[in-house]
Amino acid sequence: MSDTLAPERETRPAPPPQEPRRRRINLGNVLVEGRALVALAIIVVIFASLSPNYLQPDNLILMTRHVAMNAILAIGMLMVILNGGIDLSVGSTVGLSGVIAGYLLQGWDMPITQLVAYPPVWVVIIGAVALGALVGYVNGLLVSKLNVAPFIATLGMLYVARGIALLITNGETFTALQGEEGLGNTGFVTFLASAPLGIPMPVWFMVVFAVGFSLLLNRTAFGRWLYATGGNERAAELSGVPVKKVQTLVYVMSGFCAATVGLLLTADLPAATPRAGEFYELNAIAAVVIGGAALSGGRGTIRGTLIGAFVIGFLVDGLVLVGVSVFWQQVIKGAVIILAVAVDQLQQSFQKRRALRKVAASTNRPGSPSPA
């Protein structure tokens, strides 16, 4: 976490575009750059006017709890996408980690010895999260060492992880998660599904993850390396960035986030089902993209991703709350995602043109006015 490592300075050739230096405040810019926030505001205004329940504190907390699961996944996904990759396996990792937790809580039939172990809850949690990170590590090795395309490697892992979850449960659902006092493994559900200070645990996790990963991105060498590899991998490598290491680590982080969501979801139900988390990867990718990240890598922020997750969650729950028909819900959700990305592309070309104009203006400075 040292800030003074040498490579940091050498990544300057590929600086992240959102360097805040000398930015002029301009209403048009704010509207375009903060478009996810604008979209969120529009959604809130529309639903608040359609349903008096929408803005009630209880409902906001409820919707934020729903958002939190996707937001945590999306934070992990952002790390991968900043690197120019994609992680399709997170939904399956959610299912796998939940199932592992459920399996350990029900009693682990240890091989060879005829014993059944009942690990304490903290061991269960660490074990499940470590497994998620391991899944990510395998993804990372496939991508960085074997040069398998991220889409393919994680698509394969999507099936492998889901299959293992099914093998462990034999297709069944674990519901006895409360543990037993005598075995010392109680508290999984009561802890992870609790709500300290009235705020549900998933929301606390979302806040901690957002702050933690934000610091990681903005205050550490790793963060700068990540933006650099996503911006221009070759240039980053030549500048001494440990490109392969960064590439592996982002998948580990994504697996870690997914496993955390698996635990929260399992405690929330409370049941560990091997089907948990199906298609969650799609919502996570959508949140990252709505939040302004580029799928090509190098551009994106935690703040934007969080807003993206809120846009999706507040939209989906709002549609249910006001009773929009099921089929329209899907159409509207899809349209919002497309619209967000289309606006993003417009902004990109707009910014590029403006930058070119500036360059042109500064080279033509002696006397001649800029062509615009």
Binding site: G171, D268, E278, V320, G323, V326
Partner: protein
């Protein structure tokens, strides 16, 4: 080994000769485990929907157990209601030249072609759990009577609710035929009670987590509901958890469908008023037996191709007899 060969030859009565060499080749591996069985020999392909769901897992387990009891090898595939994958598994079964296919079809219309293809290749197909929209292709179609099941479920639910108040419905995956059949069955009964008002209908895609999330939001919009009818147990169990968290389970009566083990526990605990057991074990057993009869005698032994088996209402009175989708004594 000789016995399996003879059985395989018998199995070919009524099917085309092309299958002969392949089928006996395939049997070399099947012979060993087929020894204990009464008849049969050869391979039965079991193609199901999604063994991660306990309901379909019971279907697969039953089919495999019954087939092995009758002396067959089995292969198992799951298409997850994807007609393309179903098609690939049918192709696979044809190229492996299995002797019969037990299929839980992926869609009534979409599956006609797949069943036709297998039949054209001389492999008899026996449908379980769901039907296809044409008759005369599959050898038998054994379905549980979902409409009747929804009716008895709704009747039990309405009796508990008292025929008055607002309720919501959790709908299954809209692309699944059974979701509509069950919903229609509920509506048919509940429409007779003018004081019952369906205030919202949401899909939760058969899924527990989605059922819980949808229920939580619907409770915000309609805090005064007295009941939930659900297209399956998983969504109902999600709804029950949401109601528990909101402290409203006392005022809301929940109806499930499928009779899965978790739902049975919920009925026993008084959290779910009733669920409807599809006789999947009986139906699947029957399908395998008919496949065996057909391979041995050239006839299924059933008088009609389409056979509907009535569902069983599970309430706290009889839930004690239910064990993993089977009603015992």
């Amino acid at each position: 080994m000789f016995r399996t060969l003879t059985k395989a030859t018998v199995a070919l009565v009524g099917s085309i000769a092309l299958a002969a060499c392949g089928s006996s080749d395939a049997d070399t591996s099947a012979g060993a485990s087929g020894d204990e069985g009464g008849g049969g020999g050869g391979t039965i392909a079991v193609i199901t929907v999604d063994p991660s769901n306990p309901y379909w897992k019971a279907e697969v387990d039953t089919a495999v157990a019954e087939a092995e009891k009758l002396g067959y090898e089995t292969t198992v595939d799951a298409h997850n209601n994807d007609a393309d994958r179903q098609n690939q598994f049918i192709d696979g079964a044809i190229s492996k030249q299995v002797d019969a296919i037990i299929l839980d079809p992926a869609g009534a219309d979409e599956s006609v072609g797949a069943v036709q293809k297998a039949t054209d290749a001389g492999i008899p197909v026996f449908l379980v759990n769901a039907e296809i929209s044409e008759q005369g292709i599959a050898k038998s179609q054994i379905v549980s009577n979902n409409a009747q099941g929804a009716t008895i479920g709704a009747e039990a639910w309405v009796e508990a609710v008292g025929g008055e108040g607002k309720y919501v419905e959790l709908f299954g995956n809209p692309t699944d035929n059974n979701a509509q059949v069950r919903s229609d069955g509920y509506a048919e009964v509940l429409a007779q009670y003018p004081d019952l008002e369906l205030v919202q209908q949401e899909t939760a895609n058969w899924d527990r987590a989605e059922g819980k999330a949808k229920m939580e939001i619907m409770l915000r919009a309609h805090p005064d509901i007295v009941g939930v009818v659900s297209g399956n147990d998983e969504m109902a169990l999600g709804a029950i958890q949401a109601l528990k968290d909101a402290g409203k389970l006392d005022q809301v009566t929940v109806l499930g469908f499928d009779g899965n083990p978790d739902a049975a526990a919920a009925v026993e605990a008084g959290e779910m008023v009733a669920t409807v057991l599809q006789p999947i074990v009986d139906g699947t057993t029957l399908a395998v037996q008919q496949a065996d009869a057909f391979l041995t005698d050239g006839e299924t032994g059933a008088s009609t191709e389409k056979q509907a088996i009535d569902c069983i209402l599970i309430t706290e009175d009889n839930v004690g007899q239910l064990d993993n989708f089977v009603m015992g004594g």
